[in-house]
């Protein structure tokens, strides 16, 4: 059985047994009000809103990784491919009950895409029809920050950004993730 389905099963199992659950609409509406508040605070400067969402996500990621590790007790990922599976099939499953597809690997295995067939954060959402939002705003940008923050805490510096979103009229919601470098452990004498 391929490692992906094995990881998917782990994710499924963790979702059933280890995750406390709440009403999805509360989370969706809460995220919605956060984005709306940002758009209000930065009076429609969507580029700045994207940045703020990414920053908020980063702050969350730094903490969320501990929750992920504490509840999933998965070992250290051997390689970036395994990390991608772990993020898509276990991470997203445990927190948002979705399993985005991992595709479009580059030959050097340092870049991949996450395709979101469903995205609970964008439920009910219709972008403002002001002729700008659909070109500038990445509504679910917080997710990129979460990935960046979480993986940084396990010594992986990555870059993540959306390349398409159904809210913008595209056919798929796709996030591009690329490994920048493995971060050396801070502890000096740690000569692995």
């Amino acid at each position: 059985m391929s490692s992906t389905t094995k990881t998917a099963r782990i994710g499924e199992e963790l979702w059933k047994t280890r995750v406390d659950k709440v009403n999805a609409e509360l989370v969706t509406l809460t995220y919605g009000t956060i984005v709306a508040q940002l758009c209000h605070d930065y009076d429609g400067d969507y580029t700045e809103v994207n940045k703020q969402l990414d920053k908020m996500g980063y702050n969350i990621g730094l903490r969320l990784i501990e929750d992920f590790l504490a509840r999933s007790n998965v070992g250290r990922c051997a390689n970036f491919r395994e990390t991608a599976d772990m993020v898509a099939k276990v991470g997203f499953k445990m927190f948002l009950n979705i399993s985005p597809t991992v595709t479009n690997w580059t030959s050097d295995n340092n870049q991949f895409s996450l395709i979101f067939e469903e995205n609970p954060l964008a439920d009910f959402v219709e972008l403002p029809d002001d002729g700008r939002a659909q070109d500038e705003l990445w509504f679910s940008n917080i997710l990129c920050g979460v990935l960046r923050g979480a993986l940084e805490m396990v010594q992986m510096q990555i870059d993540a950004h959306f390349v398409s979103d159904v809210l913008r009229g595209d056919d798929t919601t796709e996030m591009r993730v690329s490994l920048v470098r493995y971060i050396e452990d801070e502890m000096p004498p740690d000569e692995e």
């Binding site: 959402v125 219709e126 939002a133």
Partner: protein
């Protein structure tokens, strides 16, 4: 039968309105109001004049669908109301076609002609006399139970689409609903039920 449907915010700011004719029994869905050229202002005037009644009914009758709440005899306009729990008001004015033979009881027509404003494009086509006063139940007597039921179904379907509009985090109370998809959905509901 011609319809004028409008959505007002809790503070009576207009959010959406649309005029359409019945599609029942061969209707072509085009609105043909009695006084075509002043229909738009006339309809809004009639609607606003019934707001007081809506205000009263709102606190006497706990239902969302208040059914037929007001009539404006001069224009033979019947007004039905639907209140959303969050305070928005759906108001539907329906006006049976002018029967050519009958001296329609327009006696109460208080010199409204002086209000004749710019012509209202939609009705210009209809030319007022639709001739075939269809005898279908809904068209014939606007206050019949079948009509009320039809209007209820229409209101419910509009409400479903209204909720879908306001659920988006970017919708703020009092914001006009400009989505063409919403407009298409209301038109479809009109065609289906009225």
């Amino acid at each position: 039968m011609s319809y004028y449907f409008t959505i007002l915010s809790p503070t009576d700011a207009p959010l959406f309105n649309i005029a359409f004719g019945t599609s029942k029994s061969g209707g072509d869905g085009i609105a043909r109001f009695r006084f075509p050229d002043t229909a738009q202002y006339m309809n809004q005037f009639i609607i606003h004049s019934s707001l007081d009644i809506v205000e009263e009914a709102q606190w006497m009758n706990g239902n969302m669908y208040l059914k037929h709440i007001d009539t404006y005899p001069p224009a033979q306009a019947y007004i039905s109301a639907f209140l959303t729990p969050s305070g928005a008001r759906f108001l539907l004015l329906h006006q049976p076609p002018q029967l050519p033979s009958s001296t329609s009881s327009s006696g109460g027509n208080t010199g409204s002609s002086s209000l004749l404003g710019s012509s209202f494009s939609a009705s210009a086509l209809g030319g007022g006399s639709s001739g075939r006063a269809s005898s279908s139940s809904i068209a014939a007597n606007p206050t019949a139970p079948q009509t009320e039921e039809a209007v209820r179904q229409f209101m419910n379907e509009v409400y479903e689409n209204y909720v879908k509009t306001v659920m988006s985090p970017f919708y703020r109370v009092g914001l006009e609903i400009k989505s063409p998809v919403f407009r298409a959905r209301v038109t479809a509901a009109g065609r289906k039920w009225l």
